[in-house]
């Protein structure tokens, strides 16, 4: 999911010259770019930032859901949630590996996240207050993520596209398990249904923001589109998500928290209300409900794991020294 970074491009000189033309011709011919191929510096940097933001989002995304693993209402739910959170860890690792093929080290990427220089999706800075939030995240957040990620399976950069194919295959279980939670709650007691509605109320708008700023404001989209890093506009994907999700909410018997939402017969789309972009910018800039907590937890995990990394390396060094001695 989590590719709000697709909306910016590094501000360095646009490439020109014969090499750049050949590069563009390869992309136009739907050829894939592989790690050691020549590429414009701007393409490389844009991808490093986007893939690593995507990876960071997966890793930070483990936290809101991890919050409920020990309190899942049944063993079935607990096993599913555990598997989902584990998948997100895996997705983060596929993506870090893809970013590293562009010549940046894992350590540097982690450092960018922990020092607050790198961004991750705004959605993970919202809290998970009730069990229904786990349902809403699977259904809505992962639903939005899938909309965003499917086109990335055809991204021009080979390693990113391959990682996204794996991610997408695994992601569809996430959305279905979330919807199942929502369905169970909305067919349950009035209190349970109320809980599901409350979760939808809190997650709906932040989910629409996941697709990034409106097309008019994302000034660098053209270059990303030309390079086939991005294949659909933010607003286009957002509309697709709304059109797919509104009938699913109706099936649950829940109300989308948007009084202006209506179906446009002529256009064949659900028309949604004004998105609070100030909130989006605040959360992205670090001032969401959980920004500080999320980073603090990641930093603590990293620091607490330092001795493990150190011990593993020391053990490996000792073993290889012993092997060399034996051979001598």
């Amino acid at each position: 999911m989590y590719t709000q970074g697709l909306n910016s491009i590094d501000k360095i000189a646009a490439p020109d010259g014969e090499q750049a033309e050949r590069f563009q011709a390869r992309i136009d011919a739907d050829d894939r770019i592989e790690p050691n191929d020549w590429m414009p510096e701007q393409y490389r940097r844009t991808l490093v930032r986007q893939i690593s933001q995507h990876a960071h989002s997966e890793i930070v995304g483990m936290l809101p859901e991890g919050n409920w693993i020990t309190r899942a209402p049944s063993l079935r739910r607990k096993a599913a949630l555990l598997a989902k959170v584990q998948d997100e860890g895996g997705h983060g690792l596929y993506l870090y590996a893809a970013a590293e093929t562009l010549g940046v080290s894992r350590e540097e990427l982690i450092d960018q996240l922990l020092s607050g220089r790198a961004k991750y999706s705004s959605i993970f800075n919202y809290p998970t207050l009730t069990w229904a939030d786990i349902g809403a995240i699977g259904w809505l957040v992962d639903g939005a993520a899938i909309m965003n990620q499917i086109p990335l399976c055809r991204c021009s950069y080979g390693p990113y596209a391959r990682a996204m194919i794996r991610v997408c295959k695994e992601e569809s279980f996430h959305q279905r398990q979330g919807y199942e939670i929502m369905l169970t709650l909305s067919r349950g007691t009035p209190e349970q249904k109320e809980m599901a509605q409350d979760a939808l109320n809190r997650w709906w708008w932040p989910c629409l923001m996941m697709f990034g700023p409106p097309d008019g404001e994302s000034q660098h989209s053209d270059t990303s589109m030309r390079w086939k890093i991005k294949r659909f506009s933010n607003d286009g994907l957002r509309q697709k998500f709304v059109d797919a999700t509104v009938p699913q909410a109706h099936f649950l018997g829940l109300t989308i928290p948007d009084p202006t939402l209506h179906f446009d017969e002529a256009g064949g789309h659900w028309v949604y209300g004004e998105i609070d972009w100030d909130e989006f910018r605040r959360v992205l800039a670090g001032d969401g409900p959980c920004n500080r907590e999320r980073l603090a937890v990641r930093r603590k995990a990293h620091e607490d794991g330092a001795w493990v990394r150190e011990a593993a390396l020391a053990y490996a060094a000792k073993r290889s020294a012993a092997t060399r001695q034996k051979a001598a």
Binding site: G90, L93, E108, E170, A306, R309, A312, A316
Partner: protein, 95 residues
């Protein structure tokens, strides 16, 4: 960053017997044992494989994409290496 970098390994998985191991991605690990464990956790959560290889990335020697012309183009003109280059009369049947 004062920490020492943890080595990178390339991961290859045989999805079922009869197929070759195929590159699926990479992991960081301090040694081969940990690399195997990490590869299992990261790349086989859904029964994707029966066998895993991990290879230190630094042990791989790769051809240079910039020299791919020199490496591969010469075979482009050697069409006589393909069966379709040879004419066999139809009455001979499938060969």
């Amino acid at each position: 960053m004062t920490e020492k970098a943890i080595p990178l390994w390339e991961v290859f998985i045989r999805s079922r017997n009869g197929l070759a191991h195929r590159h699926v991605g990479s992991v960081h690990a301090a040694d081969a044992t940990m690399a195997l464990q990490a590869a299992r956790d990261v790349y086989t959560r859904r029964g994707e494989g029966l066998s895993v290889w991990v290879v230190p990335s630094s042990a791989i020697t790769a051809s240079d994409p910039a020299e791919k012309g020199m490496m591969f183009e010469p075979t482009g003109t050697k069409i006589y290496r393909h069966p379709t280059f040879y004419d066999v009369p139809e009455e001979v049947g499938h060969m």
